[in-house]
């Protein structure tokens, strides 16, 4: 199984504040990896490094066999890494259609935009009704669907999803996880940052547990509940 994403001894910092210390992890093609850990453990920072938003201060990042360490985020995107950031992940000042168009024009080319839009609206009919509305006026759940629609039509090699379920109604969370499951089946690898552990364990093959900016434990998702006692999990 070749790796879609590989972090080798990655350290990262925000200015003088270091938040990752020599983290190594791999995500194989079509594999789903859950990134767990308590607040401040470095999950979001790892996600940002994985999609090129933050350049590592040392160590290397490999996407599909190519060293992209320090490359700008658009190179990661073009190499097939999609990133759904924590919180708002759509352009609030663009319409729903423009949000999708922005991505599809890049991934599908001029000719493919129309078909891609149709596909997105077919997957999420609620978006079709709101296609000319500014994305900032959508509800939190609808905004999440908009970003999922984008990812599902693009079908990237890897989706880095940061706290997708945060602040969403349980029913919407279920929908989001349904979409993730379908993405998996279509062959997209997943790197999922999630605080809701049961959801993540149900979906993923492997677990990487971060604590204080370093990998504290890693192994298969089935071993995780027994290998990571509750107490340790919360201390990590």
């Amino acid at each position: 199984m070749s790796a879609v994403l590989e972090l080798r001894g990655v350290s990262a910092a925000y200015g003088p504040f270091r938040s990752l210390f020599e983290v190594s992890l791999t995500v194989g093609a079509g594999e789903a990896v859950a990134l767990l850990g308590s607040n401040g453990a470095g999950k979001t920072t790892t996600a940002r490094v994985a999609s090129g938003l933050l350049a590592p201060s040392s160590g290397t990042v490999w996407v599909d066999g190519a060293d992209l360490s320090g490359a700008p985020a658009w190179r990661y995107a073009r190499a097939g890494v999609a990133h759904a950031p924590e919180g708002r992940s759509v352009f609030a000042t663009l319409s729903v259609e423009d949000n999708l168009r922005l991505s599809f024009r890049q991934s599908k080319g001029r000719a493919g935009v129309g078909a891609a839009l149709d596909r997105a609206f077919e997957l999420f009919p609620v978006l079709a009704k709101r296609r000319h509305q500014l994305a900032g006026t959508l509800s939190g759940g609808e905004q999440r669907m908009l970003s999922m629609a984008r990812v599902m039509v693009d079908a990237p090699k890897l989706l880095v999803a940061d706290e997708l379920s945060l602040g969403l109604a349980p029913i919407v969370v279920d929908q989001v996880y349904d979409s993730l499951q379908r993405l998996r089946e279509a062959g997209t690898a997943l790197l999922i940052v999630e605080q809701h552990v049961p959801h993540a364990l149900a979906l993923c093959d492997r677990v990487v547990l971060l604590g204080h900016g370093a990998v504290a434990w890693h192994g298969s998702a089935s071993e995780a509940p027994t290998a990571i006692p509750d107490k340790v999990f919360h201390q990590a």
């Binding site: 003088p16 938003l53 700008p72 658009w74 990133h83 352009f91 663009l94 922005l102």
Partner: protein, 696 residues
Amino acid sequence: MLLGASAGSDLLRALVQGTPAGTVYALLALGLVLTYKTSGVFNLALGAQAYVSAALYFQARVSWGWPIIPALLVSVFVLAPALGFVLERLVFRHLRSASAVAKLVVTIGLAVALPAIFDLALGFHSIAGQTPVGIIPGGATVFYNPFGVYALSRNELMAVGVAASAMAGLAVLFRYTTVGLHMRAVVESPRMTELNGIRSDRVSSFSWALSSLFAGMAGVLIAPRFNTLAAPDFFNLVVIAIAAAAIGMLVSLPRTFAGGLGLGLLIAVFQTFLPRWSDSLPWLATVRENLTPAMPFVVLFAVLVLWPAIRRSRAASDPLAGVEPPPPAPAATTRSRGLTVATRVFAVVFFTVTGLVVFFRADASWMFLVTQAVILSLIFLSITVITGLAGEISLCQGTFAAIGAFASFQLVTHLGMSVLLAALVGAVIAAVVGAVLSLPVLRLGGIWLSIATLAFAYFFDSVMVKLSWVGGGKQALAEGTRLPRPLLGPFNMNDNRTFLGLSIILLLIVAFAVVRIREGTVGQTLRALRGSELGAQSIGISPARARITAFAISAFIAGIGGALLAIQQQNVNYSSNFSPFASLFWLVLVVSLGSRTVEGAMQAGAAFGLFDAVLLKGAVIGWLLRSPARIPSVFPLSGTWRFVLFGLGALQFARHPEGLVENGKRGATEAVDRWLAARRERSPVVERTTEPETAA
């Protein structure tokens, strides 16, 4: 009656007359909005960019005798976009995460440096008394009279046509093209745009090139309206464009266009009707000549203060802004205690020795310059308070200083008050003005507050100074705004040495006060507000009260410094000391050397006061060579170099937003601390070291 019988046709005439200027303002305003939207840079250098194109066009047509088309192609369609592209690549790309202060300071630096660099490179000199040529044959000689009320020249019609088509083109670009979509996305979040695989850096470069093209076009189109071709005219043009952009809230392109056009029309209407109204309203007569040119500033200020939408406007925040690293803490807070003490001792020794040398050895002209540097340091401490502590960018510190100076002048002249007391009262008046000004502008956030202070500075410059109870009116024009030197007991301040002593004492008092304020409750409060306004409010801090205090203190310091400067020169010398441009210059100087520390202000004072004499006139070289006669003949250097160096200093600031002094200090502090740590590791006995730090 205010309106005569022919008012209808006069109004129409004014409207026709104002349209060409209005469309060109709109064009420039669009350029401003373009860069603000796509890179968050409020580009005050846009006027300089317009000037460069206009000047190159003039040079090519008049001096080199080029035909219209090639001259236009080179100056507008090649030079202007290239300039924008280069600026984005070399400067503004690296400022994306910088603070609003940093961005503004850099553009002010460029506004000063760009024309100077251009003039030096092409040997161009400002043109006066000659009307620049237009971009169409017979532009100034062929007229059309569409409504039978006012004849528009070909140049003017051309301006309207070009501006209108540019606006239409921009609308199509934004609405219907992929590039336009990318631009709109980058406005909101460059990083999120990159997550879609789009090169946001390229989009920014394109926006800057386009904005610069608009500026260049505006420059070439507006030049024939002046009978001069000089950089300051173009800077004023930017202030008008800012007013138009404010009407468009800095984001809406159609409203910006309407704002520019509306301003042009408003100015023309006032030009037509004010003389008539002032016949029946005597108070208008005194300000009549100045009110028309001041119109944009009045409108700008009114829009900012009265339009609630601007207060409420919060730019759609970038959800990924958290990726950027936080700004570093001042070196003083990170260095070891021993080093701090050593630094302070060194600073005291250094300043005492320099002071004594100047005090007892310098001749009259050096004494004058050093005194001026001391007083400017005092004024610059007002920037330390408002920008360094409160984090607000005030662009009217020169105006506060002028208020202090004018108030003392008036009090001494009309009430016969003692000079020093008058200076104190003048400072209090400046503080009151500062507090009152801060009331309406306080609710404005960051960039808007700076714009409002800029508008105030220009308003004061073009209207208030002309009033007799401020600037002295006609009498002052004839006699100058004179102020005597004070007598203080046995000390006669007519003696320059004594006056220098007084200035140094006042500087030390104010410096001490500023340090106390910084460490005290007010400083803590302001620091809390800078950190998080919401957080500060939640622990019971009133942002309004804290900011009013900061404004008042800052204006007080500027006022006392302004009065002192006027006393030193025995004249207010408003236009050479306190013009709005001086305020900009001061701000950039202080901020780029370090606005958070007292030393920064003092170094800026020294740089401002002594730069010409020490560097441009070659005094340092003369001193090194032990004889003024041996100074190489390239000295004195052209004063233009000052502007170039100043601009480069501002660019340096882009790389070290904490200020050059602060950056040097950090480097030195870290090096010394490392050295100390290494020594400690070698020998178990820790030695106290008194290694002085060079950049104290």
